[in-house]
């Protein structure tokens, strides 16, 4: 403690989200001194996400969390809803998986719990404190400058979120482009648990996730979501910031449109808005991962752009990257070596884990998706609903005639060259995902 009162410790972690907490607790468990600095009044108070965390990676760090942490519901159903203007097609996968489940949680409660556990295990959590800049000496990060004072440490781990101004300060990150982030807005709507259970076909403590395509987001790289909490519904959407800028769309108006859709409106009917929120999601993928380490510094979680957007994974990549940064920090502390070379182990560990492997698998996804958004996020979604409309309508028109018309329209409306381009793009993408 004397060292801490002298403003020098072994590791400073900036940011009390899943990445920072996982990192700090890993280091504290090995008996090292670690300070976690959080700018909000408590961990989780500045954090927003859709809604669900995944049990397996959290168990790696907090084995008993399912018994002790504030969890809303265990998700037993994933619904993929493709919205047309009035109609919709919904595919649903239902399975009560208790081996590797996901849970809906509320970050203000859940992250706060994680931070409380970290405190119990020896992490010193400093709240309501903003790190304004990193202190650098001889090209090595040696501490942080807050509004009030300077703290020194052997290693600083940046887990300061999607906007990571600190990664920018030390040149680890380029300026972010609107196409590399999605802007998400969310409303948490109060609804009693009985109504939630009825509307989503659930029993108590069971949850349901909607992943929503099309509707007001038709033709844009954007998705909507619904998560069920104990006594509220989280509904929101995330859309590429470039698309919002190009089309001059107000994000909350887009969400209002989604809420009005005939498939969605009954789910939230008579609910009372508890809280509105917004957040950015890093969407650049593998190609936009910043420099991950330097002398005396490592970067984890959203700050390192570690999000697998296709699978809606973020908090798990955050926690595992935080843990791996923590393990590298422990090795460095044991050896007393905080050089760039020593900390490069963190990147190797990330590359050997699913974190970078998965992002690499999908490295071409965003490029193709941006180029073909109009077709993959627009035209084909419309055609799914067109097909089912044709298939389910009984109007005494002969079926063969209907099929022919559907196929003719399908080709004519998109034109054959564009169809080939789409097919080529899809082939390229599948090849890069499955083969190399």
């Amino acid at each position: 403690m004397t060292e801490i009162s002298n403003n020098k410790t072994e590791v400073i972690v900036v940011g009390g989200g899943p990445a920072g907490i996982a990192c700090a607790v890993t280091i504290a468990r090995a008996g090292h001194e670690v300070i976690l600095i959080e700018r909000g009044s408590f961990a989780g108070s500045k954090n927003v996400f859709g809604g669900a965390v995944y049990a397996q990676p959290i168990r790696e760090i907090f084995p008993n969390f399912e018994k002790e942490a504030p969890i809303e519901r265990l998700n037993i159903e994933h619904k993929y809803a493709i919205l047309g203007n009035e109609d919709s097609t919904v595919i649903s996968y239902r399975h009560k998986d208790t081996d590797t489940p996901s849970y809906s949680v509320i970050r203000g409660k859940f992250d706060r719990w994680l931070a409380e556990q970290a405190k119990k295990e020896g992490v010193i959590v400093v709240e309501e404190t903003v790190v304004r800049e990193l202190i650098i000496e001889n090209e090595q990060v040696i501490g942080v400058k807050t509004e009030l004072e300077e703290y020194y440490s052997d290693i600083v781990v940046l887990a300061d979120g999607v906007n990571s101004l600190l990664a920018k300060q030390i040149g680890f990150r380029d300026k972010m482009d609107p196409k590399d982030v999605a802007l998400s807005v969310k409303e948490v709507i109060k609804l009693d648990s009985q109504k939630i259970n009825e509307r989503f076909n659930l029993s108590d403590d069971e949850g349901c996730i909607y992943e929503i395509f099309g509707g007001p987001m038709l033709g844009m790289l954007g998705l909507g979501f619904i998560y069920t909490n104990k006594e509220s519904i989280s509904i929101g959407l995330g859309v590429g910031l470039d698309a919002l800028c190009d089309r001059k769309i107000k994000p909350y108006e887009l969400l209002d449109e989604l809420k009005k859709h005939p498939t969605i409106a009954p789910l939230i009917k008579d609910g009372e808005l508890l809280e509105y929120s917004a957040h950015l999601i890093p969407e650049g993928g593998y190609k936009k991962i910043p420099t991950l380490f330097g002398a005396g510094v490592m970067i984890a979680g959203d700050a390192a752009m570690l999000v697998n957007n296709l699978h809606w994974e973020g908090t798990n990549l955050a926690m595992i990257s935080g843990k791996l940064a923590g393990e590298t920090a422990i090795r460095a502390l044991v050896k007393g070596d905080f050089s760039e070379k020593m900390l490069s182990r963190y990147q190797k560990e990330l590359e050997n884990s699913f974190v970078i492997k998965d992002l690499k698998t999908y490295r071409n996804l965003m490029d193709e998706a941006h180029q073909r958004a109009e077709s993959f996020m627009g035209y084909y979604l419309e055609q799914v609903n067109e097909f089912f409309k044709m298939f389910t309508t009984v109007d005494s028109v002969p079926k063969r005639q209907k099929y022919h018309k559907f196929i003719f329209d399908f080709i004519k409306k998109r034109n054959i060259i564009e169809l080939f381009k789409d097919a080529f793009s899809a082939f390229k993408l599948f090849w890069s995902i499955l083969i190399k």
């Binding site: 509320i106 203000g108 001059k248 769309i249 809280e275 509105y276 950015l280």
Partner: protein
Amino acid sequence: MTIDDKLFTVKYKPDESSHLRPDLEKCKSCKSKICTTICPAKVYEWEEGEKKLTVNYENCLECGACRIACEKNCINWEYPKGNKGVTFKNG
């Protein structure tokens, strides 16, 4: 429900000074003024009469969208002080 009604549900502890400082001279020549559209909290409003960008920083949800979207790249964007700004209870 208007955006003002939505923002009414958010808990804030406003600072005395703004943590969002656009270069107001550059804003005058900005064509898109995209911050006035994409900000999810309607922080930015263009006063045509005064030719001035108003910054309602008290409403800021600290998302960072304006910083990235600004075509003049002229918003000096910081986090509010440690105990200030937004607190999400249901994030």
